[in-house]
């Protein structure tokens, strides 16, 4: 916005001050240099003097000479030619399965897997928008992980985003998988949304508030859906072979909505906490087998036809983050603790899941982390037949991580994971070495 109103008001203020100046034994603080309004010529001289002084200072290096400045003054050396190109970066992520006994646990059953190459293309579009593209190249497919344009400043302090993006159901889901503190997303996100977390397409609005004296941000999204996306290589269900009686979605069944409230407090210059709440609601497809009478037009050797229906599903989330990083030792010491809970509200029942994770920075380049996961699940992901809901069981896991950053752009992470509880497999240990390397400009990481 322009500064003119402020200036005009200030000018009026100065005039008012001048009007009182005659009777003014003590001059008001904001008019220490009252300037007679008729003195425009003097003002111009002042301006010229400033311009001359600035010109001299910016041009002349002789004022305080430095002996060995080998470069010409920057005026003769523009160095921002490349600035119109978008920032192009790439992150490669190689996993090595070092599990001692167990068969390899990587997606394709091998011991080494180039799980993802993520290409990031980011640029300011024009004074109003910036655009971000993240393309994930996987062993068997290429997918657009995120692609969105952000309107940086709308009236009313609003910011808008259109495209496909990771959604703020908790905090961890916003970070791309190669850059999270652990090797995989938490079980709860994988179980409810898939290996790469929760992403959808649509439109989002956000606004920052401070009515209570601390930072609050509200985000609302209208989305194309909240359905779990099919994994690459994942088999389509057997229902595929059955005849599906389709039904048209109504408008609300075609949309999903998500809201997120973020609260942030600085406890000191070193410590801060954040508490977030999320809710998402949408409809998911369910295929309900129709009752079948063999005597009628329903042969036994074929699956019964299924009716496509849409049911409301909701997710509720809460996230709590505590961070500590002493400013003067910020490059050597830090600690972050993050806990998230997600409830998955389906027509049959409420499912719960969550995780808690912490990371200690041991030195400039070394970090130690741990995570505990729990999520309610149906064993083997079996489709519930008809209306008999199976009892959910808790799937639990604990994992520890040692991370080494040779520089900001390369990372080695050794992860040791153990499945816990009744659903754990016979050999519950898994050892993964993750190598991540990034090229291109620095990619800012959201706080």
């Amino acid at each position: 916005m322009s500064h003119i109103p402020g200036t005009a008001v200030r000018r009026i203020g100065a005039l008012v001050a001048l009007a009182f100046a005659g009777a003014w034994p003590v001059r008001p603080a904001h008019a220490q240099d009252p300037k007679p309004p008729a003195d425009t010529a003097a003002a111009d001289t002042t301006k010229d003097a400033l311009a001359r002084e600035i010109d001299r200072l910016l041009r002349d290096t002789a004022g305080v000479p430095l002996p060995d400045y080998p470069r010409a003054a920057p005026a003769q050396q523009p160095r921002t030619f490349q600035s119109l190109n978008p920032d192009i970066s790439a992150i490669g992520e190689l996993l090595a399965d070092l599990s001692p006994q167990r068969a390899a646990t990587l997606e394709d059953g091998s011991r080494f897997l180039m799980r993802e190459t993520e290409l990031g293309i980011q640029a300011i579009v024009d004074p109003f928008f910036r655009a971000d593209f993240f393309i994930g190249v996987h062993p068997e497919e290429v997918e657009v992980e995120e692609a969105y344009v952000t309107a940086l400043a709308l009236p009313g302090g609003l910011q808008a985003r259109v495209g496909r993006f990771h959604l703020p159901l908790g905090k961890i889901n916003l970070t791309h998988r190669p850059e999270i503190l652990t090797v995989d997303y938490p079980l709860v996100l994988r179980e409810y949304f898939g290996e790469e977390g929760f992403a959808s397409s649509g439109l989002g609005l956000s606004r920052i508030f401070t009515p209570l004296g601390f930072f609050q941000e509200v985000q609302v999204y209208a989305l194309s859906g909240i359905e779990r996306e099919e994994e690459h290589g994942e088999e389509e269900g057997e229902a595929e072979e059955a005849e599906v009686i389709e039904r048209q979605r109504d408008v609300f069944e075609q949309l999903a909505f998500l809201g997120h409230l973020r609260n942030y407090w600085d406890l000191s210059s070193a410590a801060n906490v954040e508490l977030g709440f999320s809710a998402a609601v949408g409809s998911v497809e369910r295929l309900v087998p129709l009752p079948c009478d063999p005597s009628e037009n329903c042969p036994l050797d074929q699956p019964p036809p299924v009716q496509q229906t849409f049911e409301t599903q909701a997710f509720y989330g809460a996230d709590f983050t505590m961070r500590w990083r002493p400013p003067q030792r910020s490059i050597y010491r830090s600690f972050a603790w993050n806990t998230e809970v997600v409830a998955n509200d389906t027509p049959e029942q409420l499912w719960w899941g969550g995780f808690t994770q912490a990371q200690w920075q041991l030195s400039r380049r070394w970090y130690l982390g741990a995570r505990f996961d729990a999520v309610q699940t149906l064993e083997e992901h079996e489709e519930t037949e008809g209306a008999e809901p199976a009892e959910p069981e808790w799937r639990r896991a604990a994992s520890g991580y040692l991370t080494f950053f040779p520089s900001e752009f390369s990372r080695f992470k050794l992860g040791v994971e153990r499945e816990l509880g009744a659903l754990a497999s016979d050999d519950p240990w898994r050892v993964i070495l993750q190598t991540t390397f990034a090229i291109g400009p620095h990619r800012p990481h959201a706080f």
Binding site: R10, A23, W24, T61, P74, L152, Q159, E408, P444
Partner: protein, 309 residues
């Protein structure tokens, strides 16, 4: 006779208060947010009472690595001026904050956006293709230019220009403050040069290339840096080689910013027979260094004391 003026005073103060309440913007200072304390200190010198200045980084903090805390977005949301050092010093945090500030006045290209690397004299600008084999920071040149006093003047000049543009009523004040600042800095720089003259050419070592501008001004000979490349911690073999080089050159001091771990530099200094010197590289990095000129004053004095010993 004595009561009358005081009555008038009371009355005028009352009216002044009323008008102040009615026109809250009348005395509203320009809100300036800077990335570092050095820019903030110079902005205060130039803006005086017409500006309100806040620095994002602390003087004791490594300006390369600052957390983009959401609370900082609130400061930027209302700012009239945003001032940064540039050359990717703040790349890890400032762009994020600016994007979220929803404030077009201070966005890149906005009227209130200032990147001082556009006017500073910059060292170590790569003359050939840059790769990160040169280290993971400083790809566009050495961003610690504020530690050279003549760049301090340029920073002051650009602030004066911008403040006068945004607040033309203050032009005279900004000009006077600029002239005064330059006069004081020139006088101080002349004094510093005199103070350092006997030690011209003394070999020294610094932790990070942040000290290059200052050491060139001070006429020191830089034998090397503890970091082999900007942002990359040293290996033992590199340190052994550095200590050897220091011994041969007779290096007198090892200069370290307060936010680096002093353990390795201390060891290097001991082995090479030099003095370890923890010097603030930003205003506020030491209690005595509370404005731009006193920062350099403090560093010049500490350095010449250390060499004299």
């Amino acid at each position: 006779m004595t009561t009358k003026p005081s009555k008038i005073k009371t009355l005028t103060v009352a009216i002044a208060l009323l008008t102040a309440a009615a026109t809250p913007l009348a005395a509203d200072p320009l809100k300036v947010v800077t990335t570092t304390t050095d820019l903030a200190a110079i902005a205060r010198e130039i803006g005086g009472s017409r500006v309100r200045v806040k620095s994002i980084a602390l003087g004791t903090q490594d300006p390369h690595f600052v957390e983009p805390k959401p609370s900082l977005i609130l400061d930027l949301r209302d700012a009239d001026v945003f001032a940064e050092i540039g050359l990717q010093l703040e790349i890890g945090w400032a762009p994020l904050l600016l994007d979220q500030a929803r404030n077009p006045r201070i966005s890149r290209g906005g009227r209130g956006y200032l990147d001082f690397s556009e006017v500073a004299t910059v060292l170590d600008i790569p003359m050939r293709r840059v790769t990160r084999a040169e280290g993971d920071i400083h790809p566009l040149g050495n961003p610690h230019y504020w530690l050279g006093p003549e760049n301090g003047k340029r920073i002051a000049a650009l602030f004066a220009q911008k403040f006068a543009e945004l607040d033309p009523d203050g032009t005279r004040e900004y000009t006077n403050h600029l002239m005064e600042f330059v006069r004081r800095l020139d006088a101080a720089a002349a004094r510093w040069r005199e103070q350092l003259e006997p030690y011209r050419g003394t070999p020294v070592v610094a932790y990070h290339t942040s000290w290059k501008y200052f050491l060139l001004f001070a006429g020191m000979e830089i034998v090397g840096y503890i970091e082999p490349k900007p942002g990359i911690p040293p290996s033992p073999s590199y340190l052994a080689e550095l200590i050897e080089r220091m011994r041969r050159a007779g290096a007198k001091a090892v200069i370290v910013d307060p936010f680096y771990d002093a353990k390795v530099p201390r060891l290097v200094a001991e082995r090479a027979g030099a003095t370890l010197l923890i010097l603030p590289s930003s205003v506020g990095g030491a209690a005595e260094a509370d404005d731009y000129i006193s920062l350099l004053e403090y560093d010049v004095t500490k350095l010449s004391d250390a060499i004299r010993r």
